[in-house]
């Protein structure tokens, strides 16, 4: 009796659907190096520059009389814009996935439109609609509710640039889940709201959180649209705009300290996002799963 496995020398079998090990390691090396230069280096640079004068100086500059209002404004804008966006996303996803109507694809295109419009053009559009020299704008200013160069304009610009985020995460999930569970709840006599709160919401909560996360990151970081709408007014300066001001006033360390704070928030966002992708993959839209 001869054992065939001894007849051939032990050599690792390479599946026909794999690349040669050398090619594979070259690709991995190339990608790692490229990401190190393109992504990790800028990230490290922010923290190195921010801490160039020590922790204490960086910390102090964030709580200065100049920096604090910007931080507050950014938080306020995000606190208004993100819930607005979430409400819109849920309503739009409900309308699109629970009803059949003509022009659905066109509606989705319109919702995605802000992705293909430059944020600067978005800001320009808002100035042209609500600026003090327009009819609507003048009326609003006369009634003590200026939009441009003030908080409402910044919120509007922020909602514009983050418009599709939540809806885009919810629509695929809700299409996949279908209408059967809601129909069952309604048949059993639940009201519309109760059906939404106890049947739909638990099914979409992680996808909703995912969309809110992306939306919040963009809301806190938006620069172009907000720069146009704020008109560089001191009272309408968000954190990203303040970074530019500090930077142009040669307060590099202060600019980077604030940048460091935003970068820290960005890292936190990525961490949460990765956790969601790993932990609740089944409840996210299909293209967010299985990295």
């Amino acid at each position: 009796m001869s054992d065939l496995s001894h007849a051939t020398p032990a050599r690792r079998f390479r599946a026909p659907t794999e690349e040669a090990p050398l090619a594979r390691w070259l690709l991995i090396g190339f990608v790692t190096l490229a990401l190190a230069v393109l992504v990790f280096a800028p990230l490290i640079a922010i923290f190195v520059e921010a801490l160039s004068k020590g922790w204490e100086a960086a910390w102090k500059s964030l709580f200065s009389r100049e920096a604090l209002p910007a931080i507050k404004l950014t938080l306020t804008v995000a606190a208004i814009a993100v819930p607005l966006n979430a409400a819109f996303g849920i309503a739009a996803a409900w309308f699109i996935t629970k009803f059949d109507f003509r022009g659905k694809a066109f509606l989705i295109t319109l919702i995605d439109l802000p992705f293909s419009v430059s944020p600067v053009v978005a800001g320009l559009c808002i100035v042209l609609l609500f600026g003090a020299n327009t009819a609507i704008g003048a009326w609003l200013v006369a009634h003590g509710f200026p939009i441009v160069f003030a908080l409402p304009g910044i919120v509007l610009a922020t909602v514009f640039v983050t418009f599709p985020f939540v809806a885009r995460e919810l629509i695929p999930v809700m299409i996949e889940q279908g209408r059967a569970e809601e129909e069952a709840a309604l048949t059993l006599g639940a009201s519309g709201w109760r059906t939404f709160l106890t049947v739909t919401l638990p099914n979409i909560r992680w996808a909703l959180l995912y969309g809110v996360l992306l939306s919040n990151a963009r809301a806190m970081g938006e620069f172009g649209a907000v720069a146009v709408v704020s008109g560089r007014r001191e009272s309408a300066t968000t954190m990203p705009l303040k970074i530019e001001m500090f930077y142009n006033e040669y307060q590099g360390a202060t600019a980077f300290a604030m940048a460091g704070l935003l970068a820290f928030l960005a890292l936190l966002t990525l961490l949460l996002k990765t956790w969601l992708e790993n932990r609740h993959a089944g409840e996210l839209s299909a293209n967010r799963r299985g990295h």
Binding site: V37, A45, F99, F101, T195
Partner: protein, 310 residues
């Protein structure tokens, strides 16, 4: 006989969800864009043309669209490789790399802008070695090919060409290119990666069984399946780059006619309260962007139809 616009449904909340959707869509997106178009109409085609048809505007538009195209092409190639490595290989650090791909989405553009400028400025970590070592060496190496080329070029009656690389990365078009690559980095990788996960390995096995080399399989079997998604990512990356403002203005140096991008011109026009001028450039950007996206969409439809893969 007409079909109903909205089909009857037992689902509750039609009025509410439709109301919120259309109200917000109108106030946030449609009315503002309408205001831009209206401003353009009242300014008139001639007025728009008179604004756009100036050297400074043409140069800015050309710069924006040219560099965005280069950056999107870079991201297309790099993004497909990146998606392949992340989807198919497991190696130490895989998860960190996978998470890092999304950093450009999460990091505010102004933060990216000052970080890249700090790295690539002539006194920065990468910029210093470029300015003092790499660029002079490249230019010395390119000196004689350039001379040889220009013997031919001037012999044919053209202006001599320059193959010299700029001495600085920041404050030159190269800096703008790097910023645009950064902001568009995740798009292709993130649209292609899920498609790679869904590829049926049996298709690749079949190809191998029929005698195709690995490279041949990748080129003739796998690549056509990835192409539509890659094009989607390319289009998103391109649209993002064309409109990008925050990261670019820090690294560009913003020299009129040389490193001034189109969105910056809009901001300058607005600061001078020239709403017509700003609207004209904004409309020009919208029109060119939509034309480009339309072309990409048509290519996509064509490739889907040819390959028959959704």
């Amino acid at each position: 006989m007409g079909r109903p616009v909205v089909h009857r449904s037992p689902m509750p909340g039609l009025g509410l969800s439709m109301g919120i959707t259309f109200t917000m869509l109108s106030i946030v997106v449609l009315l503002p864009i309408g205001a831009l178009l209206l401003q353009g109409v009242s300014y008139g085609a001639e007025g728009i043309w008179a604004t756009v048809n100036r050297e400074r505007v043409w140069k800015a538009l050309y710069l924006s669209f040219r560099l965005s195209f280069y950056a999107a092409v870079f991201n297309l190639i790099f993004g497909v490789i990146l998606a392949w490595v992340l989807a198919r290989y497991r190696f130490p650090g895989h998860r960190i790399l996978d998470a890092a791909v999304d950093l450009p989405f999460a990091l505010p553009t102004a933060v990216a802008g000052i970080a890249l400028t700090a790295l690539y400025a002539p006194n920065g970590f990468f910029g210093a070695s470029w300015t003092h070592t790499i660029a002079p060496a490249l230019n010395a190496g390119l000196a004689w090919p350039e001379a040889a080329l220009n013997v031919l070029v001037t012999g044919l009656g053209f202006e001599p060409w320059s193959l010299q690389v700029p001495p600085r990365i920041a404050y030159s078009t190269m800096g703008i290119f790097i910023a645009l690559v950064f902001v568009g980095l995740p798009f292709v990788a993130r649209t292609v990666q899920p498609v790679i996960h869904e590829i049926d390995r049996e298709v690749e096995e079949a190809s191998a069984t029929l005698g195709a080399s690995r490279l041949h399989t990748l080129r003739r079997v796998v690549w056509p399946m990835l192409l539509p998604a890659a094009l989607t990512g390319f289009a998103l990356s391109l649209a993002r780059a064309v409109g990008e403002y925050g990261s670019v203005i820090f690294i560009a140096g913003n020299k009129p006619l040389v490193t001034e991008i189109a969105p910056l011109l809009i901001v300058i026009q607005l600061e001078e309260f020239s709403y017509d001028g700003a609207a004209a450039i904004g409309i020009a950007m919208l029109v060119i962007s939509f034309a480009m996206l339309l072309v990409i969409n048509l290519i996509q439809v064509w490739s889907r139809r040819r390959i028959g893969y959704v």
